[in-house]
Amino acid sequence: MLSTLGYASVIAALLGAVIATGTGLIGGFKNRSVLVDVSRRATYFTFIAMTAAIVTMEAALLTHDFSVEYVSRVGSRETPSYYTAISLWSSLDGSILFWGWILAGYAALVAFVRREGADHLTPFVLGTLGFVGIFFYGLLAGPANPFGLVVPTPENGPGPNPLLQNHPLMGLHPPLLYFGFVGLTVPFAFAIGALLSGNLEATWLRDARRWMIAAWAFLSLGIIGGAWWSYEVLGWGGYWAWDPVENASFLPWLTATAFLHSVMVQERRGMLKTWNLTLIIGTFILTLFGTFLTRSGILDSVHAFTEGVIGPLFLGYIALLTLGSFLLIAWRSDRLHAPGTLDGAVSRESAFILNNLIFVALTFTVLLGTVFPLVVEWARSERISVGPPYFDMVFTPLALLLLFLMGVGPALPWRRTTAEKMKRSFWLPTAVGVVVVAVTFLLGVRRVYPLITFGFAGFVLATIVEEFRKGVSARRRISGRPPALAFVDLLTRNGRRYGGYVVHTGVVVIAVGLAISGSWKFEREVTLRQGEQVEIGEYRVQFDEIFTREEPQRFVVGGNFQAWKGDRYLGVQQPRLNYYPTSQQPIATPAVETSLSKDLYLTLMAFEPEKGEHATLRAIVNPAVAWLWIGGLIVGIGALIAIWPHGRPVYLPELAVEYVGMEEMADSRAADDGDVTGRGEEAVAVGEEESGS
């Protein structure tokens, strides 16, 4: 029953998407608002149908309806309900279903916020979103149908992939990543919509940018969350392994971040039109590429699902979208020509352009490293590996350059600067950076990369603080509000800029965390008899005993270890090995004792199976890892500030009347800043024409 219901919902969604695409595109080209209305409704309908499909699947999972094919593969009566619910994304077709649902949700949201006003863009955007959806709903209706009927109904199933049911965190980062990945479809749809409609003035870009920030925020949190999961769950002692699938989430993040900076150059100068389109489209293609990597099993990786027909289909689809998008750019290239001008070679514009160069070089490098084994195999029929030692080597210098630019950009004014101004805005941050390097050097830091990281971190933080100080003091003079309120005003009224600085602060914290944990991590692997102790740094660990525990879905072997940091007792640590019936290798669960300065990270590597007389323990002292999570949180908060729908900023009209006398301009800015629904379109467009082109 649920099988039929679910399948019918998917078919309905597919139909809805076909209609939304057809009516959207035709309505857009022929300028028929009736058709556009149909497209909008079909988009809503698709979302409702996909929601029905998701609810059906969850119902089937939670009621253990093993007649549904997907449930028979990932469900089991022994799996706790929580893991049963999230096993929606534990296998290929379930995750495509989840993907499709989010896509339908985004499409419906776009249709909703752009429901008013007869602009030329919306029909094409809805058409594109529908078109992207057709592929996913088509997969669900055909080769990746999770709702197939299993006859006879099995009594029980094997349960989800052990890795996915080993820790509650598995419920966190996959949805974040999906919301990020799928969210990147929206800016893509705006880009394609703008190309199709032929109206390539900057209006579309503004909207695309806002969706991009939202997707970017999800993606960032998803990546950090994934690192956290990797650290807390996988038990290998690190948080980032340069696994192909980690890279797959990192690649679109890099290009999206590049876009978020270069878009400002286009908004200001009307330059880089083709470039920004390429970044948006490239970002979306990279999400598909990442999904392809995960789903096709083309590179072996923790996450690959490895299944038959989907791979070739996905590749064909990527090829279609890539070639189609770039042909569209080529077709419209005469409208994309922009008379690029910069006032000064040393300006914020230049800093952003340089930032883009490095982001793209980094993207290229990570991409190259990820697929390089394929290249060698193609050319030479040899198998090689490209792993963390390579990536660390190439990533670090480029990342440091970016860190440096993060301090330069905000300190440089738009358009141009003078030697005098440069001196004024750079002496303090430079001094802070130099002092930080000197102090850390005197404290005994001799490694080059960490020293540079600390110096740049000080430099960047100083520029950020300086920006806030300037902003607060100016706001205070204007509004007379106390510093704290003036500070809040900055964040709430110009969220995009100051939220951006908050994000930067988070990135600095992460960079420092990476430098410290990457350089001063140390570890010991020891085999301990019962009662024996080992010292690792300032920690002391004693092995007491091995315990075993039978759980419904797995068999757990763990060790009781007492730990001390200096004289402080840290309690009993229980690193475990979990044995699942479906997995040959045990899945480790580490015991992590976190503090702000360092973590004690214990993994049970082996144990004497008869009496538990001795155990092999890998003990790692991981400094400053907590800073990564804190930094991630700051990034998330900053992104939230940047996209939070603000009220109409009060100070601008005030300014306009009292100081400037430019009401209409302030109005348009206000509309831009305050209105996410796109109803400020007209005013925005005016403001854009003025400043953009």
């Binding site: 590429f289 890539t322 070639l323 770039f326 080529a330 394929l374 193609w378």
Partner: protein, 176 residues
């Protein structure tokens, strides 16, 4: 943008797409072996019966060296092929020898008792011999010729057809 250069952009991704298409045609499970064609690493190990055994002292023309474990499911699948090999071939021609991989002798004995088979299995404490042979996992089977070179390596469960083809070509004096 110039008239022609604008059509360049759509062409750029084509090599990348072709690369991915190539990626789909291959099997990631098939791993390379640097050791095929090289001399088989010598080992001196104890059999499950407590005898000492060296590769060099085996006088059969072909040695089929099978790395296995009782916990390994595919090993059960290939077991009949090995049993048949010991039945079909004369021991002076073909010697089947097991190497136990990450397993206890007790488990191995139970396995052999349950599934049958008369050939010897040596214990590999510390997995050193498996590492010497570049073993990724079990089952893996090495076909060692009269010169004690590794003529062929099979990853995964062995079928009788493959075993027979390789052994016969080695017995005929050719390569595998």
């Amino acid at each position: 943008m110039k008239r022609f250069s604008r059509w360049l952009i759509p062409i750029l991704p084509i090599p990348a797409l072709a690369l991915l298409a190539f990626g789909l045609t291959r099997d990631v499970q098939v791993l390379p072996s640097a050791i095929v064609g090289e001399a088989a690493p010598e080992f001196h190990l104890e059999t499950m019966d407590g005898d000492s055994l060296r590769l060099a002292t085996l006088d059969a023309q072909v040695v089929v060296l099978n790395f296995w474990a009782s916990w390994c499911i595919p090993c059960r699948q290939e077991h009949p092929a090995l049993v048949r090999a010991t039945e079909v071939y004369d021991e002076s021609d073909v010697r089947v020898l097991g190497v136990l991989y990450q397993d206890t002798p007790e488990g191995a004995e139970r396995f052999m008792a349950r599934f049958g088979g008369e050939w010897e299995t040596v214990l590999d404490p510390g997995t050193r011999t498996a590492i010497d042979f570049g073993v990724y996992g079990v089952p893996e089977t090495f076909f060692i010729d009269g010169d004690r070179r590794i003529a062929y390596k099979h990853i995964g469960p062995l079928s009788w057809e493959i075993l027979q083809t390789k052994v016969d070509s080695l017995l005929a004096g050719g390569g595998a």
